[in-house]
């Protein structure tokens, strides 16, 4: 069976939109995520696997899930 191409399209699009929206490379976006994680972790107990950022055109959403302790 051939693999559907939509998941690839969506993944590529996601990467493109992140860099377009904040006008930086995926690498810079990763560093932004890391910096945000470091900042948030000063005040709230979080784990990297529970921490997620989502960049839309107008907002950056910081999401953390699960119990912190």
């Amino acid at each position: 069976m051939r693999v559907p191409s939509v998941p690839i399209a969506k993944e590529r699009l996601k990467t493109l939109l992140v860099s377009d929206r904040i006008q930086c490379t995926p690498d810079t976006a990763d560093r932004l995520t890391q910096d945000l994680y470091n900042t948030v972790s000063k005040y709230i107990e979080i784990k990297p696997e529970n921490f997620n950022i989502e960049i839309t055109r107008n907002d950056i959403h910081i999401k953390y899930t699960g119990e912190s302790n």
Partner: protein, 263 residues
């Protein structure tokens, strides 16, 4: 007071001009007074799609430069009541018109028309800035492809930065068969990425190519795209019509039950 709507996309070739023509004609068939304006200076196309290319005397640039009165440049489409075209210039470059001049031109038309539709050129340069200058709202046309969606996202950002916030999305050339086998992004895939309200979905339909060859509209015709364009027009007039997701199998079942009925 007429409403000024710009039809835009960023990427070229996704169906802006065909959409402008069919929505313009569709709205006029529903009894509205409509003018469609081709703002693509140097690459005149809307007149050809509408089959009015032999009737051009004056154009948009002539009006702006005062070579003729606005009314003299308007072409009346005899096939429909109250549908007019203001064609673009074929020989001018895009700097012959400024955003301020475009805004004044569309504002002058507001008293005479219910809808003023602006067919925007591809790209994000001066032609785009001219086209959006006088617009109240935008219809962003995209196809279910990575490059078209990416450009649509940029366009939505630029529209919002210019204070145009009442924007809607049109997804063009959806292919049901490809969505079903996972080789084309679905309506849901696209709308979850682009954060504007969906106004309509137009399936890929060879009737559009045939109609465009002839300089005729498809809106209202008994074909998939014709029905889709008519529903888009009705939604623009405030009717609540659910949006068909052309990837779901209901249509197939309807067809089968239709066959069943006939026999």
């Amino acid at each position: 007071m007429g409403e000024v709507i710009v039809i835009t996309s960023g990427k070229g070739g996704v169906g802006k001009t065909t959409t402008t023509a069919n929505i313009g004609i569709g709205l006029s068939k529903l009894g509205k007074k409509v003018i469609v304006i081709d703002t693509d200076l140097g690459l005149r196309n809307l007149d050809v799609v509408m089959g009015l290319e032999n009737r051009i005397v004056y154009n948009l640039v002539d009006v702006i430069e005062g070579k003729c009165r606005l009314k003299q440049a308007l072409i009346r489409d005899k096939r429909f009541d109250d549908l007019y075209l203001l064609p673009s210039a074929q020989t001018r470059d895009k700097t012959s018109v400024s955003p301020e001049q475009m805004k004044k031109l569309v504002d002058d038309l507001r008293n005479d028309f219910d809808f003023i539709l602006l067919d925007c050129p591809a790209g994000i340069e001066q032609g785009f800035q001219n086209a959006i200058a006088g617009a109240d709202r935008a219809l962003v046309v995209t196809t279910p492809e990575v490059s078209a969606i990416r450009d649509a996202d940029r366009i939505i950002g630029l529209l919002e930065a210019s204070g145009i916030r009442n924007n809607n999305l049109l997804i063009n050339r959806i292919r049901i068969d490809m969505v079903r086998r996972g080789d084309m992004m679905s309506v849901d895939d696209v709308t979850e990425i682009l954060a504007v309200d969906l106004l309509g979905v137009i399936p890929d339909d060879e009737h559009v190519v045939i109609a465009t060859n002839q300089g005729e509209p498809v809106v209202g015709d008994d074909c998939l795209a014709g029905g889709a364009y008519e529903r888009i027009c009705r939604r623009l007039l405030g009717e609540e019509i659910p949006i068909k997701d052309f990837s779901r199998p209901e249509g197939f079942l309807e067809k089968i039950s239709g066959l069943f009925h006939r026999s």
